[in-house]
Symmetry: C2
Subunit: 217 residues, 2 copies
DNA sequence: CAGTTCCGAAAATGAACAGTTCCGGAATCA
DNA sequence: TGATTCCGGAACTGTTCATTTTCGGAACTG
């Protein structure tokens, strides 16, 4: 567990399908295994997860996992990295108003996705305490993608003159993830559409100086 | 670990000091042990904590812990409950303005205290995933005390007519804890006075309709 | 002082689990 | 078909840790 180091080989590059004559190692099962690892991680946390659980969930042998990853820690790190790669790099919506953009970012798949990401984050919290060098990788995979999108729509709104020019956008871009992680990890309540809209209308927009009875969006 | 159930006997009721002739069990060492447990919990998390660590930190024998608590889980639950009892029930400040109250609630001891409480929370996150019935107890011990104080000053401000009458105070009262837990657990950054003041001025007060260039406070 | 009680230290016990190794079968190769 | 490779399943090894016991000594009792 000491310094698992970043696993280098990327996964799911898209050029494999099944048993290929390659002489190296067959990575065709990686996606299922990494998904299984994320599932277990979200359910049980890093310490509660066992390699047997992951193997069973992926219908693979434990030996298969160890043929591919040198340790449980490496597997988890790769799974988190995979999460980042899987990020749909879709640009944020551009509806013309900030509220429109923010609300449009709430889509059913995004909610379920975000819920799981938060639970994975919860499963990693105790690990992060022991391995601070993982903080950046986890942040990059889980919260940054969302924050980046928030930044984009916020900056656009600022450039349009829709919001206070001196607002602390960096702080505001983190409000959503912060409230969502708090609700998921601490309060253990559902993050649903109603909650997210309330955050937008009651916290984010007011922080930007947008009047409550929104004329736009 | 299954259903540890609430430990009943309260600790540190104040009527013991050292080796008393009592016929039952001597609880005089409880406070040191529970504090040690909280320290380790904050540092290592529930799964990373071992009973030996707690015993060593408290300069007690492991057997002593097992004479007093039936299991590691019971010890931790009692430690969390103890945290709640230790809450200084000091009423929130009443400076006459909302901002004054909120800023006055930031005191050096309170910051360090809050930091540790958040780290204890982090150490419990993975446990909460496995034992949902603990969520309420943990919440009650860690976040509720702060939220309750927030509620009081917010309601006072509303009654003074200082803020929007229709603001969602329940939501706003959770902004501080949410941002603090996010910063501590996810971002692993310091929660310092500057950060807390920024939350108040950039997020909380705007959400309540208080103009940015605060005339009060 | 002899008896009693409690405690800390340390050794013992047993289960869970990371990491290894083996094995038989299926798919691929030649 | 026979050789080769990979895989899943299962048994094995070594370590860590919760929990239990044991033991010798300190403090208190009478």
């Amino acid at each position: 567990m000491t310094q698992p180091e970043q696993v280098v080989e990327p996964t799911g590059t898209g050029d494999e399908q099944q048993g290929r004559p390659g002489r190296k190692r067959d990575h065709s099962r990686d996606p299922e295994i990494l998904e299984a690892a994320l599932d277990i991680l979200a359910e049980c946390g890093y310490d509660g997860m066992t390699v047997d659980m992951v193997a069973a969930r992926a219908k693979a042998g434990k030996a298969t996992l160890y043929r591919r990853w040198p340790s449980k820690a490496h597997l988890v790190i790769d799974a988190v990295a995979c999460m980042k790669r899987a990020q749909h790099q879709a640009p944020p919506p551009d509806t013309g108003t900030l509220r429109g953009d923010l609300v449009a970012m709430i889509r059913p798949p995004g909610i379920a996705d975000g819920q799981r990401k938060m639970q994975v984050m919860g499963g990693l919290v105790s690990l992060l305490a022991r391995e601070p060098e993982l903080v950046e990788a986890v942040d990059e995979a889980i919260t940054e993608p969302r924050v980046r999108q928030n930044r984009i729509v916020l900056e656009r709104a600022r450039d349009r003159g829709e919001i206070r020019a001196d607002a602390d956008l960096e702080l505001v871009a983190h409000i959503g993830p912060a409230m969502a992680s708090y609700r998921t990890l601490v309060q253990r309540r559902q993050v649903d559409r109603e909650f997210l809209v309330r955050i937008i209308d009651e916290v984010v927009l007011p922080a930007l100086g947008v009047p409550p009875g929104d004329p736009t969006g």
